[in-house]
């Protein structure tokens, strides 16, 4: 039975676009790395670290503790916990920690629940530092993170420097998938950073130059993904965002599919909404590579994921559905079919197009996995071959599934819950 022409066109467009993106970023990788031109820190600038916390009684203490262990002069650090109207004991836990660690400058600001963007702005108001660090309460910074990040602010135009983000001690299948995803993502963001194309500054330990943050008006308080919005706004004003590969920060990843679905539904939905909000940059060469390749990618990557998942289901399940349906017609007499089965196979029967595309995709994926692990200084087999295989052959279905959910949500105008 012939495949409808529009399905063919959609599939080939998805394949060719994926290939184009892969080749493009591979060419970026081939370019010689610009020499690490770090300034030595001559003095220690005052740094304000803001922790927006909503119901984080379990996470807030380890996060605060990791900050007290930072290799940085205590008197040049200002830690601000913004309690966003938590209903649990976040407030008392933070208060207790403050009393126990008098030698640190830790402030606690409590306000009515009004979202993460508003919490960050409250912190921004109170912050006295030259640099402003956002640290989600579920994330842990390594000791030398700050000392490794600050020297990269070599230029007044650099607004944000991002650390190498990894999943904190993955314990189950979903976390191991995300562990691999983050590794690949970081490698990709490093490449983006080379072309000044970074489009998101995630919550765990993003370091901002405070003067720029204030100049552009702080965080959007009414946004699904304020970390993405602020980056798009910075890009629209031609500031720079740099991704590092050596300052490590660990974040706790969702443990279950439900949690993952909720998180990604919000992230991807936020990215679509914000991409439309800043659509004047889309395909606009005044914004350089960011306008030409990165803005379209935000939308296209979701579309490609949906096309791939739908075609996988179509081609993967349809023959079985048909066989099940047909077997009713012969009263489930499989015995005859098996008994009379003749092995009639010619090498020419193979679907060479499918083989060509799959081998190419697999080769590129393996190359990316290897390169990512090398760049992030991790061992490819760290979480076992099973994790790698599931990541390669299964995880894109999960992501595609989430995108389909988003299309449904948009189609039926479902309200977003945080």
């Amino acid at each position: 039975m012939p495949i409808p022409i529009y399905v063919r066109v959609a599939l080939w467009t998805a394949y060719l676009m994926s290939l184009f993106f892969a080749v493009f970023w591979f060419l970026v990788l081939l370019d010689k790395e610009p020499g690490a031109s770090k300034k030595k820190l001559k003095k220690y600038p005052l740094v304000s670290i803001v922790i927006p916390a909503y119901n984080e009684e379990n996470n807030i203490i380890p996060t605060l503790k990791s900050l007290t262990q930072l290799e940085y002069p205590k008197n040049r650090l200002e830690i601000i916990v913004v309690n966003d109207g938590s209903k649990d004991n976040t407030k008392s836990a933070a208060e207790k920690f403050i009393i126990q660690n008098r030698e640190f400058d830790i402030k606690l600001i409590s306000k009515k629940n009004s979202g993460k963007g508003a919490s960050l702005n409250k912190g921004l108001e109170a912050a006295k530092g030259e640099f402003f660090v956002v640290l989600d309460a579920d994330s842990i910074a390594t000791k030398d993170a700050l000392m490794k990040i600050l020297p990269h602010f070599t230029d007044d135009n650099i607004a944000v420097v991002l650390p190498l983000l990894k999943v904190d001690r993955p314990k189950n299948f979903w976390q191991r998938m995300q562990w691999l995803e983050y590794i690949v993502n970081m490698f990709y963001k490093k490449l983006m950073s080379r072309l000044n194309c970074v489009h998101v500054s995630p919550g765990p330990f993003s370091v901002y130059r405070k003067s720029i943050l204030k100049k552009i008006g702080g965080f959007d308080e009414d946004n699904l993904t304020e970390d993405l919005e602020i980056s798009l706004r910075l890009q629209s004003k031609h500031y720079r965002i740099i991704q590092l590969m050596d300052a490590e920060v660990f974040t706790i990843a969702p443990k279950t599919f439900r949690e993952l679905y909720k998180q990604r539904n919000r992230w991807y939905k936020g990215s679509v909404i914000n991409a439309f909000k800043y659509n004047h940059m889309m395909f606009n060469k005044n914004y350089g590579d960011f306008g030409i390749i990165q803005m379209p990618t935000i939308i296209i990557s979701g579309l490609i994921a949906v096309i791939l998942i739908l075609s996988s289901f179509y081609y993967g399940l349809k023959p079985y559905a048909k066989a099940a349906y047909n077997s009713v017609l012969i009263d489930f007499d499989f015995y005859t079919l098996i008994k009379t089965f003749k092995f009639d196979f010619s090498i020419l029967d193979l679907n060479y197009t499918a083989i060509f595309v799959s081998v190419l995709m697999l080769a590129i994926s393996i190359l990316i996995l290897r390169k990512s692990h090398k760049e992030t200084k991790e061992d490819v087999g760290r979480h076992g071959i099973l994790s790698l295989i599931s990541y390669l052959f299964f995880y894109f279905l999960v992501i595609g599934f989430i995108w389909i959910g988003i299309i449904f949500d948009f189609a039926f105008r479902r309200k977003q819950k945080w």
Partner: protein, 244 residues
């Protein structure tokens, strides 16, 4: 190439060379795939052509065998020749299905595949007519079904029908001969000729021992018809005659 410091103010750079290069490489890979695909298509055409040459030879030989039996009154050899007939027709069917699949994926060689399909339609008709003649000659207890099918748009049930027919063929083996005709193939004058002969207007249409049946026919329907025709009512037909 740029260092982290070299960019300042609102200057944005565009990696034009990389876009062109990436586009060219993507196109190159695509073309490579296309050429490989065409090479394989060519191989497929050659394969079917050589198989079909062999099958034509087999047919001539079979025809000769029957003429020989007829002329020399060697009816005792009928069983052996009928076996050859069955083998030939099975090989014909499996090549036809393969050809159908190749044709579906074909790009530039569509015409070559269509010519081959045409040959297979003729072969089906030849075998069918030979079967009709030899049945009388050898007095064999064989039923024939002509199956007229079309594409999915015109005939959503053809898939089901083909599945049921294949199943019945597996059950009855050489006692059931099924000849299928692609009615989309109107460039072959035999197709409209057969269609008017058997008054085929809807798809699927089966002609079971000369009786025309429109629309999808389930396993039981077909069984009833062919069992009514068979002299030997054992096996699958035993159940049918009991239930009557």
């Amino acid at each position: 190439m740029r260092s982290e410091e070299s960019r300042s103010g609102s200057m944005r750079t565009l990696s034009k060379d990389k876009y062109i290069m990436a586009g060219a490489i993507t196109l190159g890979v695509f073309l490579l795939g296309l050429f490989l695909g065409l090479a394989i298509e060519g191989k497929r055409v050659n394969y079917i052509e050589s198989v079909s040459r062999k099958q034509n030879l087999d047919f001539s030989s079979l025809q000769l065998q029957y003429s020989f039996i007829d002329q020399m009154s060697q009816e005792k050899n009928c069983i052996a020749v009928e076996k050859t007939f069955e083998q030939n027709i099975n090989s014909l069917e499996s090549t036809r299905i393969r050809l159908e699949n190749f044709d579906r994926d074909a790009t530039l060689n569509k015409n070559e595949f269509d010519v081959l399909k045409n040959e297979y339609i003729l072969a089906q008709i030849r075998y069918w007519m030979l079967a009709e003649r030899t049945r009388k000659l050898c007095g064999s207890d064989v039923a024939t079904i002509l199956y007229f099918f079309s594409d999915e748009k015109e005939c959503p049930d053809c898939d089901k029908q083909a599945f049921v027919l294949t199943y019945l063929k597996e059950r009855f083996k050489d006692k059931l001969l099924i000849f299928s005709f692609d009615t989309k193939f109107i460039s072959e004058p035999m197709i409209p000729l057969l269609k008017t002969t058997y008054n085929v207007t809807k798809y699927p249409t089966l002609v079971i021992e000369g009786k025309q049946k429109e629309n999808f026919q389930g396993k039981e329907n077909i069984l009833r018809d062919i069992c009514g025709y068979y002299k030997d009512k054992t096996g699958d037909c035993a159940k049918i005659s009991q239930s009557k």
